[in-house]
């Protein structure tokens, strides 16, 4: 489990760098470090489906962020010290720490150790029930297909929103841009 702590430390360092650095491209690269570390953590915790999706979406997001931030002067303004935010952050962290100490004083369970009754059903019955050997696929596309329909609706709404808000100004302009590329 020592590799998990190394990866989590790397991710914390990456997020701190992403906040503090002045150059936008360096900040995007630091955000990419956080996503790749999360993907390796998923792989170590034996969740290859989530790891694959995480790494692929992270690559797409980093490419989009680089294309969106490169060659664009975004005004950065210095916010100054915010003592109220710092105090609230320290208070909330301390509160969570105390609550966790009280709740988990006997130690945590092993990761995924007490298999719940609901999730026991799927590994035992998925192959006969659906014929799919990938149990995750069987759950998201057969047992819980309504969730996938909702996810598809969310994605459709996001695409329609982006195409509407950031639509190119007029058809003729767009053809000119394609020519002048």
């Amino acid at each position: 489990m020592i590799e998990l702590y190394v990866l989590i430390g790397l991710m914390i360092a990456g997020s701190l760098i992403a906040i503090e650095v002045k150059n936008l491209l360096s900040a995007v690269v630091a955000v990419g470090v956080v996503g790749l570390g999360l993907s390796i953590i998923f792989l170590i915790l034996k969740a290859p489906d989530v790891a694959l999706t995480q790494i692929v979406v992270e690559i797409a997001a980093v490419v989009l962020l680089i294309r969106a931030t490169l060659n664009r002067d975004i005004a950065m303004k210095y916010c100054g010290n915010r003592p109220f935010g710092a105090i609230m952050g320290i208070l909330f962290t301390g509160f969570v720490f105390v609550i966790a100490l009280i709740t988990f004083k006997d130690g945590l369970n092993l990761f995924g150790a007490p298999l719940m009754t609901v999730s026991q059903f799927y590994p035992l019955n998925a192959i006969e029930g659906t014929g799919a050997t990938n149990v995750v696929s069987a759950i998201i596309l057969d047992y819980r297909a309504y969730d996938t329909l909702g996810e598809a609706t969310v994605l459709f709404t996001a695409v329609v929103g982006v195409l509407t808000v950031m639509r190119s100004p007029g058809k003729k302009k767009e053809e000119d841009l394609q020519d002048s590329k």
Binding site: P48, D49, A51, L52, T53, V56, V57, I59, A60, V63, L64, R67, A68, N71, R72, I127, T130, G131, A132, T133, N134, V136, S137, A138, I140, L141, D142, A145, Y146, T148, L149, A152, L155, F156, A158, V159, V162, L163, M166, R167, S168, P169, K173, E174, L177, Q178, S180, K181
Partner: protein, 151 residues
């Protein structure tokens, strides 16, 4: 494609892209079609396919990628994926209910043609996710080019 030397990135990027982009595309297709057997599925495979088109767009410029997969056809294919997913769900009403796995007993588990409608749903989701992501990418870079031209 060889006439487009003056657009896009340098010759090194173009050569490497020409060698690798087909493999990236095929890997995405593999992830989609084996979604019911191995880790992966429609979402991850669709994003990989979209990344291969994004790769072509970044390396060769907008004209080449527009010839392969234009902005108008992304909307059509995304809607097609959504309609296909909903149609599969509605077809189940004839047998048992919404999202009923009506093709299930055909094929034995572990083979490529098995698991009923799950591979078809994977294909529908991959069309939707891949075309949607590529449409977002095209919209963002077109807007940026318009802004930089206005300056």
């Amino acid at each position: 494609m060889s006439k487009e030397h003056d657009r896009g990135m340098t010759i090194i990027v173009k050569t490497v892209t020409r060698l690798t982009v087909g493999l990236i595309f095929l890997y995405g297709i593999y992830i989609i079609l084996h979604g019911h057997l191995t880790p992966g599925g429609g979402f991850a495979g669709g994003v990989i396919v979209a990344l291969s088109f994004i790769n072509v767009d970044l390396a060769f410029g907008g004209k080449v990628s527009d010839r392969i997969f234009s902005k108008g056809s992304t909307s059509v294919i995304e809607a097609l994926g959504g309609v296909m997913f909903l149609a599969l769900a509605l077809l189940g009403l004839q047998w048992g209910g919404f999202f009923d796995n009506f093709l299930h007993p055909d094929g034995e588990p572990g083979m490529l043609i098995s698991a009923g409608i799950i591979p078809l749903e994977n294909i529908a989701i991959s069309l939707k996710v891949g075309a949607g992501l590529f449409a977002i990418f095209l919209t963002l870079i077109t807007l940026q080019k318009f802004e930089s031209e206005k300056k």
